[in-house]
Amino acid sequence: MNTAEAAIISEQARFQQLLEEHKRLVFKVVSTYAWHSEDQQDLAQDIRLQLWRSFPRYDSARNFSTWMYQVALNTAISWSRQSKARAKRLVSGADLALLPAPIEPEDSNELYVLIQSLDELSRALLVLYIDERSHAEIGEILGLSTGNVATKISRLKARLRIEAADQN
């Protein structure tokens, strides 16, 4: 084995280890943007692949989970927008038979409805808030100022409170 091959294998092992340590982060993002089992598989796979492709650009001075959230959320938002576009095309093509069956959320109906009511960017904010990230880190991940994050979280909480009250 030459030096270049050894370096690649070592890089792969490092990536696998970091991914394993932070694997729940992928599940958090996937469960926010995809609901069908097949969609979840697709999105999880897309996120892992994008993480691997972006890994050479990862600056090890940065917090890995912050970087990982950026890649995972970016991938999920793009995936979600493409899924919507695909669904629209199916409907406009009168190909309704190909649409997935209605979702049957089991024990998390309330949560599902609340998340579904949010746009893609607000969902990203919500997942970071629930994961108890600091306002500074949320700002870094989303590209917002800390003050802006605080305002948005406060609005989001108020909105969720109203939505939850409506459901009850």
Partner: protein
């Protein structure tokens, strides 16, 4: 629903995703890899194809003009098709190269708002290129055989064909519109293409860019 309840419900969701992922991971891995490779291939295929075709068209028309420069100077009208095709090819090369530069600079490890803005801009560029190609492809498709005739036989069909023949062709083109329309409605790809040509995708992308700007404001 307070934050604690929310977190518990979320954890249940995560566990379901983890369980599901573990169960199907081996089976799905290859399928998903193939699907993603195909998708990424398609994303690169269109601008690569555009670049190759435009490159060949630019070289060919450039050679053609150089070879026939004296004839074209004595009858400048005959140079119009070649120059139009040449200009089209240059703009197309420029747009394809721009696409590759923006795509290469795209880093998903950047803040969400910034990355999504770049992705949306790239998408808008791609859709506009599609619109632009379709706007010019039809008139240039008429020019192309004219140039080919000039190049191979030394005959400019603009001056050679009679008006009846041209009128029959125009009538045939008009008659084909409902047929093309029917085909477009039957294909998902064609519906997507139609959305691009009519500007629906551009307006959707611009709405998302506005959403990003609004999100960034306090």
């Amino acid at each position: 629903m307070d934050k604690q309840e929310f977190s518990t419900a979320w954890l249940a969701l995560e566990n379901r995703v983890e369980h599901c992922t573990a169960q199907q991971a081996t089976l799905q891995l290859q399928i998903n890899k193939d699907r993603l490779t195909r998708h990424q291939g398609r994303m690169r295929l269109v601008p690569t194809w555009d670049l190759i075709v435009a490159g060949l068209a630019a070289v060919w028309t450039g050679n053609f003009v150089a070879d026939h420069i004296h004839g074209l100077l004595t009858r400048p009208v005959a140079a119009i098709p070649a120059l139009l095709l040449f200009a089209f090819a240059i703009v197309e090369i420029n747009l394809s190269v721009r696409h590759f530069i923006i795509a290469a600079a795209l880093d998903l490890g950047q803040p969400i708002v910034e990355s999504q803005r770049k992705i949306a801009n790239l998408r808008r560029l791609r859709v506009k290129v599609t619109q632009w190609v379709f706007a010019w492809a039809l008139p240039l498709w008429v020019i192309f055989p004219v140039l080919l005739g000039q190049f191979i036989f030394g005959v400019n069909f603009i001056f050679a064909v009679d008006r009846g023949w041209l009128a029959a062709n125009v009538a045939f083109g008009i008659a084909m519109i409902p047929v093309v329309n029917w085909v477009l409605q039957k294909s998902k790809f064609a519906v997507s293409l139609q959305d691009a040509i009519t500007g629906k995708q551009v307006s959707e992308t611009e709405a998302f860019l506005a959403e990003l700007a609004e999100f960034q404001q306090a």
